[in-house]
């Protein structure tokens, strides 16, 4: 193949790649804008029996370590699991946590938390509170919502990490 043809091919592929890259709007200024869907069978089985599945990218590593270290008193309930499962899930949470997954939303959550704090609730972070400051207490209490912890009531893609404003539907 001539040098010229190689160059032409190279340019063609770069153009195709660049188009795809620009069309996918979650590639802005480095990492993904939103949280990527993640999956782990034990995480899904253990962490979604009692509540919705919270994406690991919603809290930093230190929060997940604290949470998984206190399962005997998990928001007032006993959620103890065998040690092997607990360690496996913790590693998964840490690897995809707000300070390790590379998404812009996670980075904003992480940077909104003071260095010495390890919140166990996403709702305690300044990022969450800033994003929801227009929601009145009465809205949170609606039967189909219940509390700010129930992300999935308004963000139907929450368990997959989709918190895009375009997909928000606040139930009446």
């Amino acid at each position: 193949m001539s040098i010229r043809k190689t160059l032409q091919l190279g340019i063609l592929f770069s153009a195709i790649f660049a188009t795809g890259y620009l069309l996918a709007d979650d590639h802005e200024g480095g990492g993904n804008r939103s949280l990527s869907p993640v999956s782990h069978p034990k995480w899904q089985a253990e962490c979604a029996s009692c509540h919705m599945l919270y994406h690991p990218g919603l809290l930093p590593e230190r929060s997940w370590r604290k949470l998984m270290g206190g399962l005997d008193k998990h928001f007032g309930e006993n959620a103890v699991m065998d040690r092997v499962t607990q360690q496996e899930i913790l590693q998964f949470l840490v690897a995809n946590s707000a300070d390790h997954n590379g998404s812009r939303r996670s980075a904003k959550i992480a940077s909104s938390i003071p260095a010495q704090a390890a919140p166990l609730r996403v709702t305690e972070t300044a990022y969450f509170q800033g994003k929801h400051d227009e929601i009145s207490p009465a809205v949170w209490k609606r039967a189909k919502i219940g509390s700010p912890s129930n992300c999935i009531a308004c963000h139907s893609g929450a368990e997959k990490g989709n918190f895009s404003e375009d997909n928000v539907r606040i139930p009446r």
Binding site: A48, S49, C50, H51, M52, D72, G76, E77, N78, A79, V80, M81, D82, G146, S149, N150
Partner: protein, 135 residues
């Protein structure tokens, strides 16, 4: 191909300890007799009373099994976070008490949550006897 075999093996080894509800009941009854040689057979009526008994939790709330599972074990219940709990009665949920590891995990968690202690094998066998008996 090897990879698939390995995955299958892993799945099998990690998979649940499958059993029937009757086998689960038998297991706890045997254990109850070891704990207390005077224990005869599991009692569905004692299990019924246990399921519905309300007590005062140290956090000030009145709690019972029925708090989350509802008074009717043939109905779905709800966790405190609002998630559905499938029925406890084996007549309404064929999966109930068919995985010993899972059964033991939930006894361990929920006995602490409701009774603030572990349950005895006798209580567990009465409980299962009741939930098998509900038709």
């Amino acid at each position: 191909m090897h990879k698939i075999l390995w995955i299958l093996l892993l799945l099998l080894s990690a998979s649940a300890q499958a059993a029937s509800p009757a086998e689960a009941l038998q297991g706890y009854t045997t254990q109850a007799r070891q704990e207390n040689p005077a224990f005869g057979a599991a009692s569905a009526s004692k299990g019924d009373a246990f399921f519905h008994a309300t007590r005062q939790h140290s956090n000030g709330n009145k709690v019972s099994c029925a708090t989350c599972h509802t008074d009717n074990p043939k109905q779905s219940g709800k966790t405190r976070a609002g998630k559905e709990i499938l029925p406890m009665a084996t007549s309404a949920n064929a999966q109930r008490f068919t995985d010993l590891t899972k059964t033991e995990k939930w006894f361990s968690r929920n006995c602490r949550d409701v009774l603030e202690r572990t349950c005895t094998a006798q209580e567990k066998s009465d409980f299962i006897a009741y939930l098998i008996s509900v038709k």
